[in-house]
């Protein structure tokens, strides 16, 4: 089979989605449909159920848990209980111990059973007092040196006596100083006895008690390797991550998705390093410098950068400089005149250019301009998708708070039946995010790998088109059902269409993410003919998309029947078994059956 045919096969496999998305005709591909090789492409239908299950379970197998404050407290309590039971120590001691070993139960077990004495010493858990005053009626406070009756003296496990007032001051100074108060020890410099929450609670003000408790709770998240706070502004939830999992993307209960590894916003399919580079690049002054370099020349006198956006070559710098010069040769204008070729040309420049005097600077300017244009291209699209996403989030909110209720009234449907709209919007938001990051991906895709680049741009284009279609449907089509009087009756068709689009788009994007994450490894970058390579990988990608559920089986109207056991519905694009005369979903009769 030559590469030409490969190309067709590839497009066939792809065209289903293609059609589904763009809705345009794909007739040019269907002529080859009888090609026996197509069976290969459709074979995946057989195992689509299995692979769908796999991908679904992968999706559901969350490798993280979002924690509310109550959950955090619960987890913390549980771990303290575990340690306290296993090591037979008090809960307060267990808490100090865990805090010291970054809330890792296994770590505590390990060190404790390896050398209990050493751990006790390091953490400051004393088994018996170092000083005793068995018969004293009064004791002298080690801080203020006043004598107090025993009921006004307190001490940690070490027995060093201090009066309650001095304790209180000592503790609140420490609590004011920040989370270091969790490591508070006896004030005696020679003594390292740890001070636990029980003693704090006995001696300090309500406000300080609360502060201390908050530090303790925060410590559970912040000092723990497995947990992080959700970085969304104002969000108070935390996320516990199964360390060692591959997928870093987590989603907090507040619906903010972020990368557990770098705590930037979720950025699959791009890796953390690329994201960091990209963010750095976006914020860096270097782009401004690039622009200035590419689009301006410094005034020969005052060296301020000047952009020439119109007019002749006779430049006059802005006051106070007011230097008059020639834009081309950057020489003083006073040297110019008839003999240098008039106002619109500069013989001096032309002559010098011939000699190669300007080559180096010109070349650098040109390069900066190219690289800037390239960056601007990707950045603009990245930023556009970012703002589209924000807009989609706002629309989703509007939909949930206002329109769903309205729609439910108009169509006399319970809101629970309108979930598909919310789901569509959630999908749009997610897709915008993925699409956004594909632009960072594209920017860093190595230039020489033409095959990959072509393939990537093809996939990205498809993704973009598909998402536009879904967005259009969710944003515009729905208006008909919101506004018109009397409301149109074909609401079920709309439901089928939108749900179908959502599902197809979801699958496409999931495959896209997977393909980009494994570095488009389907593309044989060593391939002699980049065209063939691209075609093959498109085919492979099409197959990869088999994870799509049956309900979303789709195809364009023009290709609503084929020889492989399915026909696709014009109305809802559902993939029906050949034997059915009407669509299983929307009961539309089969066209050209």
């Amino acid at each position: 089979m030559d590469s030409e045919d490969d190309m067709h096969d590839a497009n066939d496999a792809e065209s289903m989605d293609d059609d589904y998305y763009s809705g345009d005709t794909a007739v040019e591909y269907s002529e080859d449909d009888d090609d026996g090789d197509d069976d290969g492409d459709y074979e995946f239908d057989n195992d689509s159920v299995d692979s769908d299950d796999v991908s679904t379970s992968r999706r559901q197998q969350k490798n993280y848990i979002a924690l509310k404050e109550a959950d955090i407290r619960q987890h913390q309590e549980n771990e303290i209980t575990t340690i306290s039971t296993v090591l037979s120590i008090s809960r307060v001691d267990a808490s100090i111990l865990l805090r010291h070993y970054h809330w890792s139960v296994s770590n505590v077990h390990e060190v404790w059973f390896a050398d209990e004495d050493r751990v006790r010493k390091a953490v400051g858990l004393l088994e018996r007092p170092v000083v005793r005053f068995p018969n004293a009626k009064e004791l002298t406070c080690g801080i203020c040196f006043e004598s107090f009756p025993l009921d006004r003296i307190s001490s940690a496990a070490c027995g060093h006596p201090f009066c309650n007032l001095c304790w209180r001051a000592y503790m609140s100074t420490s609590i004011d100083g920040g989370p270091g108060c969790l490591m508070l020890r006896c004030p005696d410099p020679s003594c390292g006895a740890a001070i636990g929450q029980d003693m704090i609670n006995l001696l300090v003000s309500e406000e300080d008690k609360e502060k201390y408790a908050r530090y303790l709770l925060r410590s559970y998240i912040e000092d723990n390797r497995k947990t992080k706070w959700c970085p969304a502004p104002g969000c108070e939830y935390a996320v516990e991550f199964v360390v060692g999992s591959e997928n870093y993307d987590v989603s907090c209960l507040c619906s903010y998705g972020f990368c557990w590894n770098c705590t930037e916003e979720a950025h699959r399919p791009v890796d953390c390093g690329t994201v960091a580079k990209w963010i750095m690049k976006n914020s860096a002054e270097s782009e401004n410098m690039n622009w200035i370099l590419a689009n301006s020349k410094p005034c020969p006198k005052c060296k301020r950068p000047i952009e020439k956006n119109q007019g002749c070559m006779h430049m006059t710098c802005t006051p106070p400089c007011k230097f008059e010069f020639c834009w081309l040769c950057l020489g003083a204008w006073s040297d110019h005149g008839e003999r240098t070729g008039g106002f619109y040309a500069c013989n001096r420049y032309e002559a010098a250019k011939q000699e190669g005097a300007y080559d180096e600077t010109e070349r650098r300017r040109e390069m900066a301009k190219n690289s800037l244009e390239r960056y601007t291209h990707y950045y603009e699209r990245w930023a556009t998708n970012q703002s589209s996403r924000q807009k989609a989030l706002a629309d989703l909110h509007q939909m949930q708070t206002v329109n769903l209720e309205k729609l439910s009234d108009k169509q006399s449907q319970p809101e629970s039946q309108l979930k598909f709209i919310t789901e569509a919007w959630l999908q749009i938001v997610e897709c915008r995010r993925v699409l956004k990051w594909t632009y960072a991906y594209g920017y860093y895709l190595p230039e020489p790998e033409q095959a990959k680049r072509q393939f990537f741009e093809y996939l990205q284009g498809e993704a973009e088109a598909g998402l536009e279609r879904l967005h259009q449907c969710a944003e515009k089509d729905v208006q008909a059902y919101l506004g018109a009087e009397p409301p149109p009756t074909d609401f079920n068709d709309f439901r089928t269409k939108l749900a179908g689009l959502t599902s197809v788009t979801r699958n496409y994007f999931e495959n896209l993410v997977r393909a980009l994450e494994n570095g488009l490894s389907d593309v044989d970058s060593q391939g002699a003919s980049s065209k063939t390579a691209t075609a093959k990988s498109v085919a492979a990608f099409g197959k990869g998309k088999s994870g799509r559920g049956k309900s979303s089986r789709a195809g364009g109207p023009s290709k609503n029947s084929d020889d492989h056991g399915f026909w696709t519905c014009d109305q809802c694009t559902y993939f029906n078994t050949r034997s059915l005369p009407t669509c299983e979903m929307c009961h539309q009769p089969r066209r050209n059956a």
Binding site: G142, A169, D188, P189, S190
Partner: protein, 168 residues
């Protein structure tokens, strides 16, 4: 509580104790009789050290929340030492406010704690004079000299000692 009155009561008490039972190695008093929070101490250069024979004046300034925060100590005599800034400020971990190390990585015994008194602080300074800590020097030049050109260092210290004697 760490009210100013507690601080002044405590300082008053320490002043009285020190007058009654002076401690070897230093003498202490107030800079100005009406202000308990500013002390003047004269530290005798510890025997068998480079500083032997010197009488170094220092001012201790106590915060209002003493003893929960440490005082600042500054030599008014010239002192060439790795742990004394060129303006005379003494840098030892005992005098670091507890807030300086929020994570508590410094050992408990090294940080400021409210049990410290004028006496224990001055004793820390005396011990600092006899064994400089060149790991985290306040005066980098002095630390370098102390480590690499002990002869030069000794000369400079002797000059300080002589100057301090002349000032008496």
């Amino acid at each position: 509580m760490a009210s100013p009155s507690q601080a002044s009561l405590l300082l008053q008490k320490q002043l009285k104790d020190l007058c009654k039972q002076p401690v070897d190695g230093f003498s202490a008093g107030l800079v100005d009789e009406s202000n308990l929070f500013k002390w003047s101490v004269v530290i005798t250069g510890p025997p068998d050290t480079l500083y032997e024979g010197g009488f170094f004046n220092a001012v201790m300034t106590f915060p209002s929340d003493y003893p929960n925060s440490p005082p600042a100590v500054r030599f008014t005599s010239e002192v060439w030492h790795p742990n004394v800034y060129s303006d005379g400020k003494v840098c030892i971990s005992t005098l670091h406010p507890p807030g300086d190390d929020p994570n508590g990585y410094e050992l408990a015994s090294e940080r400021w704690t409210p049990v410290h008194t004028v006496e224990s602080i001055v004793l820390s300074i005396i011990s600092m004079l006899s064994s400089p800590n060149d790991e985290s020097p306040a005066n980098v030049e002095a630390a370098k000299e102390w480590r690499e050109r002990r002869g030069d260092f000794r000369k400079k210290v002797s000059r300080c000692v002589r100057k301090s004697q002349e000032m008496l």
